[in-house]
């Protein structure tokens, strides 16, 4: 029984198929960047305090939220579509030093005082914390 043999011929330089494949992959790459690397400006900040959601606040307001936890008083500031820890009672001050956040999925955590703030948008962004 003879098997049908596929013979491949080496063709000269660039061919239609090659160009097509490269073009399609370029389009795919652009599409992939646009789809999977979206940075959406958030509209709501969720404040979590002592393991519970303290509340959702619109980012488009000027507001200060004072939370008194185990360590002392954390002050969260909301201003011009952004949010930050204005001050925190903890030793390291990591949360304060990270500054303002405004993109969906960004998150600031103060572990000693059990406060975290997270920016929410229309869709939930993925971050390492979900896993």
């Amino acid at each position: 029984m003879l098997r049908k043999k596929i013979t491949l011929k080496l063709q000269a330089k660039f061919l239609i198929g090659d160009s097509l494949i490269i073009l399609i992959s370029l389009i795919f790459i652009v599409f992939a960047f646009k789809t999977f690397w979206f940075f959406e400006t958030g509209s709501v900040v969720q404040v979590n305090f002592q393991g519970k959601t303290y509340g959702n606040f619109s980012l488009f307001q000027n507001k200060k939220i004072n939370l008194i936890g185990k360590e002392g008083e954390s002050i969260i500031e909301i201003k011009e579509g952004r949010a930050r820890f204005k001050s925190a009672p903890c030793k390291n001050q990591y949360c304060v030093q990270q500054g303002w956040i405004h993109l969906t999925g960004q998150i600031l955590i103060c572990i000693p005082n059990e406060v975290s703030i997270e920016i929410l948008g229309k869709s939930k962004a993925y971050d390492s914390l979900n896993y």
């Binding site: 043999k5 491949l8 330089k13 992939a32 993925y126």
Partner: protein, 173 residues
């Protein structure tokens, strides 16, 4: 006294497969030493041998070379049956499957460059799929797709280009 020597009859093709696999294994080992910017972004130069074999021999031979390469390399590096090996195997199988269908297209249509790009995309697609369902079952994996696609296109193109020149030099067909 009897000599207990097991003799396996080998054909010329077996030897050729072994030789080609040896080159591919060598390339894989070289590649495993090279630093990588992030896990999974590798040039995949062993694929040059697979493509070369498809042109110089046939698909079946290339399949042998590719699968042998995956097994042997993992044994040498001590990764046999580890996640790295599984990823490598799934990537290779999917890439071979893609090549199997791609070479059925008229050969006027494709050169090694196109085949190489196709197979590297298939390779990374298989790996990401396995990572998604098994290793890191979380949608955040998708944000790696852009990086891996760029790498697939770039290295696929380069490998295809090298294969093309290799075949031209060896005056294939």
């Amino acid at each position: 006294m009897t000599h207990s020597i097991i003799k396996i009859k080998t054909t010329l093709l077996d030897h050729q497969i072994a030789q080609l696999s040896a080159i591919a294994i060598g390339l894989s080992l070289i590649e495993s030493v090279l630093p990588s910017p992030m896990p999974g972004v590798k040039p995949g130069i062993a694929n040059i041998i697979t493509l070369y074999t498809i042109y110089q021999f046939n698909f079946k031979t290339a399949m042998w070379v590719s699968v042998l390469r995956v097994f042997a390399t993992s044994l040498i590096l001590g990764q046999f049956l580890s996640p790295t090996f599984m990823l490598s195997l799934v990537g290779s199988i999917l890439s071979l499957l893609t090549l199997y269908f791609a070479i059925k297209l008229p050969s006027k249509f494709l050169s090694p460059v196109g085949l190489s790009v196709l197979s590297s995309f298939a390779h990374i697609a298989g790996q990401l799929f396995l990572v998604r369902i098994w290793l890191i079952p979380h949608p955040s994996i998708y944000s790696l797709i852009p990086i891996y696609s760029v790498a697939a296109l770039l290295f696929g193109f380069i490998n295809g280009w090298i294969t093309y020149h290799l075949l031209k030099r060896h005056n294939s067909i």
